[in-house]
């Protein structure tokens, strides 16, 4: 399931792109922060800016100069022809001018290369820096942040948002500046050459802008329709792949194939329309632009005829038209993409601005290895300020004791553990480890003393051995195998293709939940912590293996305090202290026999499981 969540996140991102142009809430502030984020690259930006100015200037000047050359040559050619002679270029007759034009172009090329080469690493450096900032930020965020936000959304900040930003900034900033310079420069030149032709040009540009806008509304609609069909097919593929065993077991292959073909057919129709709309806009615009050019050519040709325009100017004018027509139609698009990348950046900054966990006490106490006294005293806690879950929880555990926490789903069992590990901060009250308030310890020191196995197993892409040795990277293979044997994973590891060197990918999807739980137990065995916490660590493991593990654990954890959350009461009857929780509070506590004798809620629960 976790896998789909990520796709959902990515999907949402695509949707956003389609459903409207994202705009930053506070562009000014974002740009200011951006400026700070690139403070190590200011010099580079300065050089780029200078280069852009030169490049733009030269690009505007070059056609002017070539117009001059053409006129010059044409004049000489006409003169030569009039005298019945042939003309050829020499250094004096046009050669030096052409050479000079060559120099202009070489310089243009140089500046273009300089700026795009410098910018090639600009955005990636920025992304790299922000990614690292986020990654260290993630370690300082309170866990409540991760409860509130889907993994896909956070992932999207670090990948899609930053990739979009870097794509837009890498080429976008340059293009935006040079385009603007080019358009302005070209228009100035064109107005200088001929006002009438320039007005004609602008007229056609205006038409094509209007057409673009009208068509893009339609394009958006067909893109939306396609997106719907994509979602439909995506959902169907995900569902059918997940449920394929059932499809096969019930002989539903034909049926499901038919439904899939229908969905892909709908998608094909929708995407044909959408693709056509998107692709068709270019030829459409080009047609309008061409009509403009034809009008200019006819009018200009007439002027040539009258002698009111020189051939060089005519040619230069065309070059300016070429230089500014496409940038003008692209300008709106560029501004949009800049805006949406600023919006992406803003999301990244807002993640970096999230409230952090306290950095810990100024002069922390340290516990090298806890003896195992754990005390909760009048602990009050709620995940959100409005709703207090835990009113007043108190209990004490002595070294070597096994504390069992039982109760129905949502009773607050895991919350108790979360507080002990200091994943969340208390509203009031105290938790003591060996008599020291855990607030006086650093997070790292506190957690060093605990070994925890969670209900929801976490494995990373790496070998089985690496996964087991996560808490003790310098463990030898013998130690790893010993831990694996204790956790009863040795047998099935041998049934895997490369034994302990089998790489687990896709979140260990080739393992059953029970097997994954056993692996995470082996991980904790290897660490040999002072206090052990098992949060439904064996919920998907069968009872017999559970007991075997329990035995191994008992040997390993002798004289160590342990906390066990369990569904099956059979595994905890031997606990020294049982805490029965309900609605966040401990309603009964004591040993199995005393609680059973008391005949309260625990006794009832116990009897219901073994009736």
């Amino acid at each position: 399931m976790a896998d789909f969540e990520m796709k959902e996140g990515a999907q949402n991102d695509i949707d956003n792109e389609f459903f409207g142009v994202a705009a930053p809430d506070d562009a000014k502030n974002t740009i200011k922060r951006l400026w700070k984020s690139v403070n190590d690259q200011h010099k580079r930006l300065g050089i780029v800016l200078v280069s852009v100015v030169f490049y733009t200037f030269l690009s505007v000047v070059a056609p002017l100069y070539s117009a001059y050359i053409v006129d010059l040559m044409w004049g000489k050619i006409k003169e030569a022809f009039a005298n019945d002679m042939l003309f050829s270029i020499t250094w004096v007759d046009g050669g030096s001018d052409i050479f000079f034009l060559l120099l202009i172009y070489l310089l243009t090329g140089f500046f273009y290369f300089l700026q795009s080469f410098l910018m090639a690493s600009f955005a990636e450096n920025l992304s790299f820096r922000l990614r690292n900032e986020i990654s260290s930020k993630l370690n300082r965020l309170p866990l409540s942040y991760f409860d509130r936000n889907k993994p896909g959304a956070i992932l999207s900040r670090m990948t899609n948002d930053l990739d979009k930003m870097s794509e837009a900034f890498q080429t976008g900033i340059l293009k935006l500046f040079t385009t603007l310079g080019m358009i302005i420069g070209s228009l100035v030149m064109m107005f200088r050459f001929n006002i009438l032709l320039t007005v004609v040009f602008l007229l056609f540009m205006a038409i094509s802008l209007l057409v673009t806008r009208a068509v893009s509304a339609k394009t958006l609609k067909s893109a939306l329709k396609r997106q719907e069909c994509v979602s439909e097919v995506t959902a169907m593929v995900e569902e059918n792949f997940s449920g394929r065993m059932i499809i096969k077991a019930f002989n539903q292959e034909e049926n499901s194939s038919r439904r899939m073909h229908k969905a892909t057919e709908d998608l094909a129709e929708a995407s044909q329309k959408a693709d056509f709309m998107i692709n068709a806009i270019n030829p459409g615009i080009r047609f309008i632009n061409r009509l403009g050019q034809i009008a200019i050519a006819v009018l200009g040709g007439n002027m040539l005829l009258n002698g009111t325009m020189s051939i060089g100017v005519f040619q230069a004018f065309f070059q300016y038209v070429n230089q500014s027509a496409e940038p003008l139609t692209e300008l709106a698009f560029m501004v949009n993409s800049m805006q949406s990348s600023l919006a992406s950046l803003e999301r990244v900054y807002s993640l970096l601005d999230e409230e952090e966990i306290s950095s810990g006490p100024v002069s922390p106490e340290t516990i090298e290895r806890a003896e195992g006294y754990v005390d909760f005293s009048h602990v009050r806690f709620g995940y959100t300020p409005e709703k207090t879950l835990m009113q007043d929880v108190s209990f004490s555990a002595k070294p070597g004791e096994k504390i069992a926490i039982v109760g129905s789903t949502g009773a607050g069992k895991t919350t108790l553990i979360n507080l002990l590990m200091r994943f969340y901060e208390l509203n009031s009250g105290q938790i003591l480890l060996d008599g020291k308030d855990i607030q006086t310890l650093t997070h790292a020191n506190l957690r060093k003393n605990f070994g925890m196995v969670l209900q929801d197993t976490w494995l990373f892409e790496g070998t089985i051995a690496e996964n087991i040795a996560y808490g003790k990277p310098d463990a030898t293979r013998e130690e790893i195998v010993a831990a694996a044997k204790a956790a009863r994973v040795d047998f099935f590891v041998h049934t895997m293709p490369h034994g302990y060197d089998t790489v687990l990918s896709n979140d260990g999807e080739n393992l059953s939940i029970g097997q994954r739980q056993l692996l995470t137990i082996a991980r904790v065995f290897l660490c040999n912590p002072a206090v052990l916490i098992l949060d439904e660590a064996t919920s998907s493991v069968d009872t017999r293996t559970e007991i075997e593990i329990g035995k191994a654990m008992g040997k390993l954890m002798k004289k160590r305090t342990s906390f066990v959350i369990a569904h099956r009461l059979s595994t905890i009857v031997d606990a020294d202290l049982i805490l029965l929780m309900q609605n966040g509070n401990i309603i009964e506590q004591g040993s199995h026999s005393t609680l059973l004798q008391a005949g309260g809620a625990y006794a009832e629960l116990y009897n219901s499981q073994f009736a």
């Binding site: 896998d3 172009y105 096969k248 990373f460 660490c527």
Partner: protein, 576 residues
């Protein structure tokens, strides 16, 4: 590549049309500057306004034709790519239906989804790009050069030379870029995985104090990605700059040679403009083609991944039995010395199993996690094939049957209760598509799913994908109901009672007994209480049978069974 050709084959005619309209588009693009040059030549040569206007009209006609070509090209290529995408997706999906579990595991569900959706998408886009950006290249080059030759022989040669030079340069860049892009993709995937792991594993990371380690690990991955990205960007920066420079150099060159040739009377001055435009057009198409080519390796990877799926020979093939099966015998399923080993694994998952599931009887399988219990169910359904020995359904080897024929006789409740999106009735119809409302109600009551009648929409109540809008116990009961809808010789319950409380479990088994009177029942379970009353219990340990018999006999003879029982019962109450 073969893949694309195979899928494009049905649309050959469409392809030809696309190419034709493309030629129209390109030809128009080259004609416009030619006419412009003509206007100039006449304009300065003292022609008439009439002529210029005529040429203007001619240009409009050409533009119309060109735009028509371009539009038709867009339409046809959109159509082609849409059809291609549809066909490949259908082929992939239909292929996946023939896969066994281990076939599917070769790719992984996540990857199969990616292949069916994203990879096909990349292929589609690439096909459009190839059609629009690469196919016109030879047309542009040839036509441009021909027209240059038409203007002036020498200019023709120059343009041919330049085109050839750029072509060679482009090929070099592509060769260099291809491996770079493959690496970029790899690092991108890796980055996604590592970030994801850090988000989902935040508790574990903090519990183990691994924050600094993870930060370093991530930074390493980010660094790799940056390094390759910058390389790619620089390559593109170099490519663009060179392209720009070359265009400008050509313009200068044409100016110089054009001036001389005009001066020598071989061509007219206006032709300089036409030639420059030809050169720019050729360059433009070549550069665009180059950009597309650079992206193509990624598409090739996707094509390869699709091909992999389509080429995989399904592990499990239909048998070609001609003899009809005689149903109704007492031995519904017989295991004869069955062993099973995953390919590449050192040890057997199941070894030398022999047992019989009889009609009217309940057989139960109990054992530790990883003892191979669920694999037995999968073997019966032929989601895997046995490595040794044979399984017989109604005295016929299941390997000799069609898979659909085998599964017709078996109804199955999987370990993970999975419901399909739609309605409850829609899910129940899986078992029997012609079932009436009463039948459904009856089965629901057998499966202890009366809660359905209390829902506002009853049988037509909405089910979310996977059944996530129902609790674990409700999902299990509904998936049991779905299986009971089907009349079968054998009902297989793979750990299907685990989420039920003891009372419901007991009630359900009682109702079940009546419902499945004429069939064999196989229950795989972890709870002794669930299987205590079975006619036959098989105890599985490390893939071998550690004991077989009734609860009473096993409690006496089988130490493994005793262990399991002890672990689940209050010690003093274990009944012998």
């Amino acid at each position: 590549m073969k893949l694309i050709l195979k899928f494009i084959k049905p649309y050959r005619k469409l392809m030809v049309f696309v190419l034709l309209v493309m030629v129209l588009d390109v030809a128009g693009g080259l004609l416009i500057p030619t006419i412009t040059a003509d206007i100039i030549n006449y304009g300065i040569g003292g022609g008439s306004l009439d002529y210029i206007l005529r040429q203007g009209l001619f240009m409009i006609a050409v533009s119309l034709l060109t735009s028509f070509g371009a539009l038709a090209g867009s339409y046809l290529s959109a159509s082609l790519s849409a059809k291609l995408g549809r066909d490949i997706r259908n082929a992939l999906y239909d292929k996946s239906l023939t896969f066994s579990s281990s076939d599917m595991e070769k790719f992984g569900t996540g990857s199969m989804i990616t292949r069916t959706l994203n990879d096909v998408n990349v292929v589609q886009q690439s096909v459009i790009m190839v059609i629009q950006m690469i196919l016109p290249v030879p047309v542009v080059c040839v036509m441009g050069i021909v027209m240059a030759f038409h203007i002036d022989l020498m200019m023709g040669w120059i343009l041919s030379g330049v085109t050839l030079a750029i072509l060679i340069m482009a090929l070099c860049v592509i060769k260099k870029a291809a491996p770079l892009f493959r690496r970029l993709q790899r690092f991108l995937d890796r980055m996604n995985i590592v970030i994801r792991e850090n988000i989902t594993g935040v508790r574990v990371i903090r519990a183990f104090n691994k924050e600094p380690f993870e930060e370093k690990r991530m930074s390493g991955v980010f660094g790799n990605y940056r390094e390759v990205s910058v390389k790619v960007n620089r390559l593109f920066a170099g490519l663009e700059s060179t392209a720009l420079l070359v265009i400008n150099l050509i313009i200068v060159g044409i100016l110089y040679v054009g001036g001389n040739r005009t001066g020598a009377g071989f061509m007219k001055i206006g032709d300089i403009i036409a030639l420059s435009e030809y050169a720019i057009l050729i360059m433009f198409y070549l550069i665009m083609a180059q950009m597309v080519m650079v992206m193509l390796p990624r598409a090739l990877v996707c094509i390869g991944r699709i091909q992999e799926v389509l080429d995989l020979e399904p592990e499990i093939k239909d048998g070609g039995a001609t003899v009809p099966m005689i149903a109704g015998g007492t031995d519904v399923i017989r295991f004869e010395n069955v062993s099973f080993c995953f390919s590449d694994a050192d040890e057997n998952t199941l070894s030398e199993l022999s047992f019989i599931c009889k009609r009217g009887q309940t057989t139960a399988i109990i054992g530790s996690t990883g003892s191979g219990k669920s694999t037995i169910a999968k073997l019966i359904l032929r989601f895997h094939d046995v490595s040794q020995g044979s399984i017989k359904l109604n005295d016929m080897d299941i390997g000799n049957m069609k898979q659909s024929q085998l599964r017709e006789h078996i109804s199955y409740v999987p370990q993970k209760a999975w419901l399909f999106s739609g309605t409850i009735a829609h899910n129940l119809e899986f078992g029997n598509k012609d079932a009436s409302g009463e039948e459904m109600q009856h089965i629901l009551s057998v499966a202890q799913s009366e809660f359905v009648t209390e829902l506002p929409d009853g049988l037509t109540a909405h089910v979310a994908q996977g059944g996530t809008n129902f609790s674990g116990g409700q999902k299990q009961r509904l998936s049991i109901a779905r299986a009971l809808m089907k009349k079968a010789d054998l009902y297989v319950f793979d750990d299907s009672f685990s989420a039920l409380d003891f009372k419901t479990d007991a009630a359900l088994r009682k109702a079940l007994k009546k419902q499945t009177r004429d069939s064999a029942v196989l229950i795989i379970a972890q709870r002794i209480s669930t299987i205590m009353n079975a006619d036959q219990i098989i105890v599985l340990e490390n893939g071998r049978i550690a004991g077989m018999g009734t609860h009473q006999s096993l409690m006496k003879q089988c130490p493994v069974y005793q262990d399991i029982a002890k672990s689940q019962m209050k010690g003093e109450e274990v009944r012998g």
